[in-house]
Amino acid sequence: MHELGVISKIVESCELIARQNGASRIGYIKLEIGEASGVVSKYLKTLWTMGTNGTVLDGADLVIEDIRAIVKCNDCGEEFSLMDSADANHDKPCCPKCQSRLFTLTNEDCKKCIIAEVGAVD
């Protein structure tokens, strides 16, 4: 359950941001969670309220944007969603156009988990 550890890291970062900006608390936070980052949005949301209770993020609105893993077929150039293809093909994604199993990731962002922006409150 490392989403717990992830929330504690977010809290730490926000404490620093609040201090740097003379804010008393963070009222809103937007996270970008990559599909290939290993962090699960669902658990983050479930644990969020209790995980931020009593911290600088207490009561903050949480907005999560999921960053999809988009790949490009090495053979025909078709771009498609890695996870959608995995779901449709027994976890063995392939090009929906030519069924090739060779593809390249187009966006490294989907491996990351980012604090995009926060709303600091005086």
């Binding site: 359950m1 490392h2 717990l4 504690s8 809290v11 730490e12 599909e35 290939a36 980052s37 290993g38 699960v40 658990y43 479930t46 644990l47 209790m50 995980g51 996870m83 995995a86 779901d87 027994h90 976890d91 063995k92």
Partner: protein, 224 residues
């Protein structure tokens, strides 16, 4: 960093939600006459090889299927299918465990009507899976001889949670220092009721006894 008490409280609340969900799933499966077995272990213990060996030993006595959640499956869903076992690969996206909700989705995806046994091959990890009730009727863990006899002492929750402990790769006992007695003492200290089986999925030794025990348990469970 969160303090220890808070971490424990947080986990309790998440687990509580999941526990209720798991109980619902268990009741639904019982009314359908399907026994769900949650198979856990560390990576490389031989979960899939064991399943293939069990399939042969079941000899058609059970209508069963497999949900592959372990990304670390040396034998993929296709190979299980080739062996004639209905199988579905769950898409886990790097998670370190499965819960009741994901299990439910997997069962739906498997779509096996009148299944007597569904085996959930959980993610290769001794820490996280033990904490999450998947709604299974039977929890089984595989410990392989090369890993050592101290795993029950080091990962107590896993062994507390399991009904059955299968010790695999016994064909390698001559080359590893595996103290059976000590391992059993550790496991039983945490869980006096745990049933222990010794097998080699590779040579087939002990597999028939395990298969027979499972068939018996499944039929008993479904008859209730």
């Amino acid at each position: 960093m969160m303090d220890e008490v808070k971490i424990i409280k947080l986990k309790e609340s998440v687990l509580e939600d999941n526990n209720q969900d798991a109980q619902l799933l268990r009741d639904t499966l019982r009314s359908q006459g399907t026994c769900l077995l949650n198979l856990m272990s560390s990576p490389g213990s031989g979960k899939t090889t064991t399943l293939l060996a069990l399939n042969k030993a079941f000899a058609g006595r059970l209508r069963w299927g497999v949900m592959e959640a372990d990304i670390d499956s040396a034998v993929d869903a296709n190979t299980m299918l080739e062996a004639g076992v209905p199988t579905v690969q769950l898409h886990t996206g790097g998670m370190c465990h499965l819960d009741a909700d994901m299990t439910r989705q997997g069962i739906r995806a498997l779509g096996l009507e009148n299944a007597e046994l569904i085996v959930l091959e959980n993610i290769g990890n001794l820490v996280c899976p033990a904490e999450f009730d998947t709604g299974a009727a039977i929890n089984m863990t595989i410990l392989s001889v090369p890993e050592g006899d101290d795993k029950p002492a080091k990962y107590p929750l896993m062994y507390e949670t399991c009904d059955m402990l299968v010790v695999n790769k016994i064909d390698t006992l001559p080359i590893f220092n595996f103290d059976k007695k000590r391992m059993e003492q550790c496991a039983r200290a945490r869980n006096p009721e745990i049933e222990i089986f010794y097998i080699s999925a590779k040579t087939g030794e002990g597999v028939q006894e395990l298969a027979d025990a499972l068939v018996r348990k499944v039929k008993e469970w479904n008859a209730k």
